[in-house]
């Protein structure tokens, strides 16, 4: 029992340290908000132009705008959201992973707690302000229902869980390739397209949508966003969240396996 409490306190302390670290660079939050707003504006005008000139879009203009603007505010593809990859990939490249590995805690758990802290800060100081500004400036809608609001928040946790596993896995690739920036960019592209961040999956051609829905990436953007605007509603909300967590557990187990293999390969760079 005391071991459990100590373990929990340890992980909270790791998250707290990440929070303090994020807070040390206050200016970064403003630039991140600015970047998010610019991307939001870009997509807002793009989709406004598309929907005014197209008759085949099966989503209402308001829902579409809400979807893409919200997608930018809570985007996991944002540069600031790359902490896990930076920590593992960078740590392998410059040897700093050594320090994480002398700690009396599981490495995956340590990176998870660290990311939780950083993600909390990102949500409070970048995502939420960007969301509020999108509400005010671009006039996006509030959640479709109170159930949609709750579903959206829960599903954000699911999305975080998924993205953490994917980032961790990409970070681990560093044990084989020593440089993972290529994977990082591929991830952003996949998240933007297959995740449905830039184009709602509902607008995909049927065959592509079926593929996207069968992959875990949809859970990182499409699921929470579609719940928010009411495309996914009723019992489907909980089913899609279940889907997210099922993928989450699967990916955690997979990353665990990769980690156990990677651990034996550790060759610390330099000295």
């Amino acid at each position: 029992m005391t071991g459990l409490v100590e373990g929990l306190q340890r992980q909270i302390a790791i998250a707290m340290a990440a929070i303090k670290q994020e807070l040390a660079y206050r200016f970064e939050f403003f630039t991140a908000i600015l970047g998010a707003l610019l991307m939001t504006a870009l997509l807002y005008y793009l989709w406004t132009a598309i929907s005014h000139n197209s008759t085949s879009i099966q989503m209402s203009y308001q829902a579409l705008i809400t979807y893409v603007c919200l997608g930018q505010a809570f985007s996991f593809a944002r540069p600031g959201q790359r902490r896990v990859m930076m920590r593992i990939g960078g740590g392998i490249r410059n040897g700093h992973i050594l320090i994480d590995l002398i700690r009396p805690t599981d490495y995956q758990m340590l990176t998870f707690s660290d990311t939780c802290g950083a993600y909390l800060m990102e949500t409070l100081f970048v995502s939420l302000p960007s969301y509020l500004l999108a509400l005010l400036v671009f006039g996006i809608s509030l959640p479709a229902s109170s159930q949609a609001a709750v579903g959206f928040v829960v599903s954000l946790f699911g999305a975080f869980f998924l993205i953490f596993s994917v980032d961790f896995m990409i970070g681990l690739m560093g044990f084989w390739t020593f440089n993972i920036w290529g994977f990082g960019y591929a991830k952003i592209a996949i998240l933007d397209i297959l995740g449905g961040t830039i184009i709602p999956l509902s607008l995909f051609p049927d065959w592509l949508r079926s593929i996207a829905l069968a992959l875990p990436f949809q859970g990182m953007a499409y699921t929470p966003l579609a719940i928010y605007i009411g495309t996914i509603q009723g019992n489907s909300i909980w089913l899609s969240i279940l889907n997210q967590f099922a993928w989450g557990v699967g990916l955690v187990l997979l990353t665990r396996l990769i980690w156990l293999r990677a651990k034996r390969r550790i060759e610390i760079q330099g000295g």
């Binding site: 100590e6 306190q9 340890r10 909270i12 302390a13 790791i14 707290m16 340290a17 303090k20 670290q21 040390a24 660079y25 040897g95 700093h96 050594l98 320090i99 590995l101 002398i102 700690r103 009396p104 805690t105 599981d106 651990k263 034996r264 550790i266 060759e267 610390i268 330099g270 000295g271």
Partner: protein, 342 residues
């Protein structure tokens, strides 16, 4: 306690680590070829290294750059998996029980920081308290003691990135020791520090060992660190253990040698000099330095210094002459360059 005193606290047996690295070709074409190359090269960073360290010892672990010191330390901490042999640290195999082992050890890597870069060291200490579940009373007492001994108070509130290397290293030591580790690995803790900062760190290490009985394995390139701190040294080179024993023994074996260093104004060759010196005694070694001066090493018990210098002055046009003692640094340099001659 009685049981553990008979078993060494660290035991490395036939430890080996082989890295496989891609043989990389230079140049643009080479870089492209590298993408598809499977031309691997095996590098033995550690080969058949065995040693025992008793609880409470302070051992210097030295060797030239790339000798395999850090590789050994990483195997002792459980981070690297040896490709041969085994380590047992205080009854545990660190690779198998990394987390349990990590609670008993403290590590300082002089070339890396374990403090959180963007925030004050106090926050990192706080993280260590939770990380190692240090009881509040112990934490406070230790922190207080370290703050005093290492004089940390002036910069406890400044972000780590603004600290000087010396200040940072003092904080690193504190961070690594707050949880009362039984065993401490110090990997070049004095690297890049000025003489005053080095001395402060040495005093701290010595007190840690003497007052708390902490077992310390120290790697360093600073011979003064070794002279001031260690009674026993382990020397490795190219992955092989080449010496393990008392520091005093190295000094006894090599330290009685002296050297005569002199310059001549004509073109006397070292060969002719060796021949002529052989007439006055055994065990004389002649070398020429890059600046043209000649160095003759001798054992004063076999050839008195006065006999040797008189012979040189009488037979050669000497412009400058000095008799030197061989210091530990030269001994170690010689060992690195030529290996142990026994």
């Amino acid at each position: 306690m009685t049981e553990s005193s008979t078993v060494p606290i660290i035991r490395a047996t036939h430890l080996g680590k082989t890295f496989r690295t891609l043989r990389r070709k230079p140049g643009f074409v080479g870089a492209i070829q590298n993408l598809f190359s499977t031309d691997y090269e095996e590098i033995k960073a550690a080969d058949n290294i065995s040693f025992d360290i008793e609880a409470g010892e302070l051992v210097g672990y030295i060797g030239p750059n790339g000798a395999g010191k850090s590789t050994t330390i990483k195997m002792l901490t459980g981070i690297l998996h040896p490709t041969a042999g085994e380590v047992v640290v205080d009854g545990l195999v660190p690779q198998r029980e990394r987390v349990r082992n990590s609670k008993k050890i403290g590590v300082v890597f002089g070339q890396r920081t374990q403090l959180i870069w963007d925030i004050p060291p106090g926050d990192s200490f706080e993280l260590m308290r939770k990380m190692y579940a240090i009881p509040q009373v112990r934490y406070k007492a230790n922190l207080q003691e370290f703050i005093e001994m290492l004089e940390l108070h002036q910069f406890m509130t400044r972000p780590v990135r603004q600290l000087s290397l010396g200040q940072r290293m003092r904080c690193e030591l504190a961070a690594a020791l707050l949880h009362d580790p039984k065993i401490v690995y110090l990997d070049e803790p004095t690297i890049g520090l000025d003489v005053v900062a080095k001395e402060r760190i040495r005093e701290f290490i010595l007190r840690l060992n003497q007052e708390r009985g902490t077992t310390i394995l120290l790697t360093t390139h600073d011979i003064t660190d070794i002279e001031r701190l260690c009674q026993r040294v382990i020397i490795i080179d190219k992955g092989h253990l080449i010496y393990d024993g008392a520091l005093a023994e190295i000094k006894r074996q090599y330290g009685r040698l002296r050297r005569v260093v002199f310059s001549v104004t004509d073109h006397t060759t070292p060969d002719s000099l060796s021949l002529s010196l052989a007439q006055i005694g055994n065990g004389l070694q002649t070398q020429t330095r890059d600046d043209g001066s000649v160095v003759v090493s001798f054992d004063p018990q076999q050839v008195p210094a006065i006999t040797l210098t008189r012979h040189i002055v009488n037979n050669y046009p000497v412009s400058d002459l000095a008799v030197e003692e061989v210091d530990l640094e030269s001994i170690i340099r010689e060992i690195y360059q030529q290996g142990i001659v026994s």
